[in-house]
């Protein structure tokens, strides 16, 4: 297996290389960071629905749609990406997705530990610290005849830009996205109190991968290969690929595995009701840890929104049968007025349709 320790590469190219290596069936470990920031969306994501395209255009942030799954991510030079490419027929390496995550997450976990940060792999695809905060995300794909496993070491992270990039239904919730990211996502810099040395992270990561992958042969990208990679980059930048997925309204934003912000809205007779719910566990049946309701409906007194309605829902399981009686109790209380809105409307605004 080859080792391509590429340090920094031009933004899009840094993410195209592993796609081209996989297409060509080259087994390799790639270590790379983008020279300049970019936004990467998952293969199944609809860029129009997931990304604030006006913002990224005005900020000069290029958009890339990877052939790997997952959500929208902000990438920059403070993240060191590892990409493992191997033939599906090579029995030396994991043959199932589950095995790939378990086996290939070990090297980045051990690399963190060598810096004094205890990190473990948490199913399905997160690296988390002892206190459960995400410090790395992983993903993968079958590309050509290869299995491709990717992830990153977060030396540092720009929470502000990431929270600004996501397209959300109501700008008032931007701060909630930022706070949720900051609370649930950590970095090496935050854990260590200082930015680690890039070279040291690269070296340790490679050494740990060698223990699992076996000896790695150092290699460099040839001019011919780079030409082919550039051609693939042009293909992947074509609007029909970049914006190739069409989905409905944006309805959730994954913060980390098992924690999602879920957006809902419903037009009741009494006005539009919008919700943002922080849900731990599965989207259906998980616990609503926090909730904010907004819209142009009338509720008097206004304070009963937080103290009455939202409080009646927070802490409950996100299931209609559990929420209905809680909301109904609030709606039936005599010390408030909410014309044109009934319990079913709130259920609908929470995104819990029949």
């Amino acid at each position: 297996m080859y080792l391509f320790n590429l340090d920094r590469m031009p933004d899009l190219l840094s993410m195209v290389i592993f796609h081209e290596l996989a297409r060509e069936g080259v087994e390799a470990l790639v270590i790379v960071s983008p020279e300049k920031p970019l936004i990467s969306i998952g293969y199944f994501q609809d860029a129009h629905q997931e990304v604030d395209l006006d913002y990224i255009k005005s900020s000069g942030l290029p958009l890339f749609r990877r052939e790997v799954g997952g959500g929208t991510t902000y990438l920059d030079e403070n993240q060191i990406f590892y990409q493992v490419i191997y033939s599906r027929k090579n029995k030396r390496f994991p043959q199932t997705i589950k095995q790939a995550y378990e086996v290939l997450s070990e090297p980045p976990c051990r690399a963190h530990e060598r810096f004094g940060i205890k990190v473990r792999f948490r199913e399905v695809n997160d690296l988390v610290t002892e206190d459960g905060r995400k410090i790395g995300g992983e993903g993968g794909a079958d590309i050509g005849e290869c299995m491709v496993f990717v992830g990153s070491m977060l030396m540092d992270f720009d929470y502000q830009t990431m929270s600004r990039v996501a397209k959300i239904p109501d700008e008032k919730w931007r701060d909630k996205v930022y706070k949720s990211l900051e609370e649930n996502l950590t970095t090496m810099r935050r854990e260590l109190g200082e930015l680690p040395s890039r070279e040291e992270v690269q070296e340790i990561l490679i050494a740990e991968f060698q223990k699992v992958l076996g000896p790695l042969e150092k290699a460099e990208l040839t001019p011919d290969f780079l030409r082919r990679a550039r051609a693939l980059e042009r293909q992947m930048q074509k609007p029909e690929f970049l914006f190739g997925k069409k989905k409905g309204e944006v309805d959730s934003l994954k913060i980390k595995s098992g924690l999602n912000l879920i957006f809902g809205q419903h037009k009741a007779r009494g006005g539009l009701i919008r919700t943002i719910q922080e849900v731990e566990g599965p989207s259906l049946g998980g616990t609503i840890q926090d909730l904010s309701i907004s819209g142009d409906f009338t509720l008097i007194p206004r304070k009963s929104l937080r103290e009455g309605l939202e409080r009646s829902i927070i802490g409950a399981r996100r299931e209609k049968y559990e929420l209905f009686p809680r909301i109904a109790q609030f709606m039936e209380s005599k010390d408030k007025e909410m014309p044109g809105v009934n319990t079913e409307d709130i259920i609908m605004a929470l995104g819990l349709k029949d």
Binding site: G42, Y43, F44, V68, G69, Q95, I97, Q99, V124, G140
Partner: protein
């Protein structure tokens, strides 16, 4: 029948990449096996072929995302796509909940029924599944 905790209905044919085939005349209904969905975990997205598309046996006809991994969907037989399950596209978790029923993926009019010989059925399917469990489910 059930093999090592994985459902494997007797009346179906099985492709090595864990897709099942139910034959009705020359029309094949295709879905993912119980083994596939259990090992892959929650299926979050599916990209399926379009009606009228023609494929050869073992061709990649679509993609599936489970746990941030984008995998491939193969055609177990050569033929023309006649129907796509739009319900499973809208709600991919159907393929987890009911892989051999409402979670079917697509139907295909097979052009060469002799290709069924390349799939597993009955005793051969049982042996294949036992080997897959030994290799992949540990």
């Amino acid at each position: 029948m059930e093999v090592g905790g994985y459902l494997l209905p007797d009346d179906l044919w099985y492709h090595k990449e864990h897709f099942w085939v139910r034959m009705e005349g020359d029309v094949a209904t295709v879905g993912v096996t119980d083994f596939f969905q259990k090992l892959a975990g929650e299926i979050s997205y599916l990209e399926l072929p379009s009606e009228g598309d023609e494929y050869s046996q073992d061709d990649v006809v679509g993609t599936v995302e489970t746990g941030k991994w984008v995998g491939k969907i193969y055609s177990p037989l050569s033929g023309t796509i006649t129907e796509v399950n739009s319900e499973v596209v809208d709600e991919p978790a159907l393929a987890n909940r009911d892989p051999y029923g409402s979670g079917w993926l697509f139907k295909l009019k097979a052009s060469d029924l002799s290709e069924l010989e390349n799939l597993f059925k009955g005793e051969a399917a049982l042996k294949w599944m036992e080997e897959e469990i030994r290799k992949k489910a540990k």
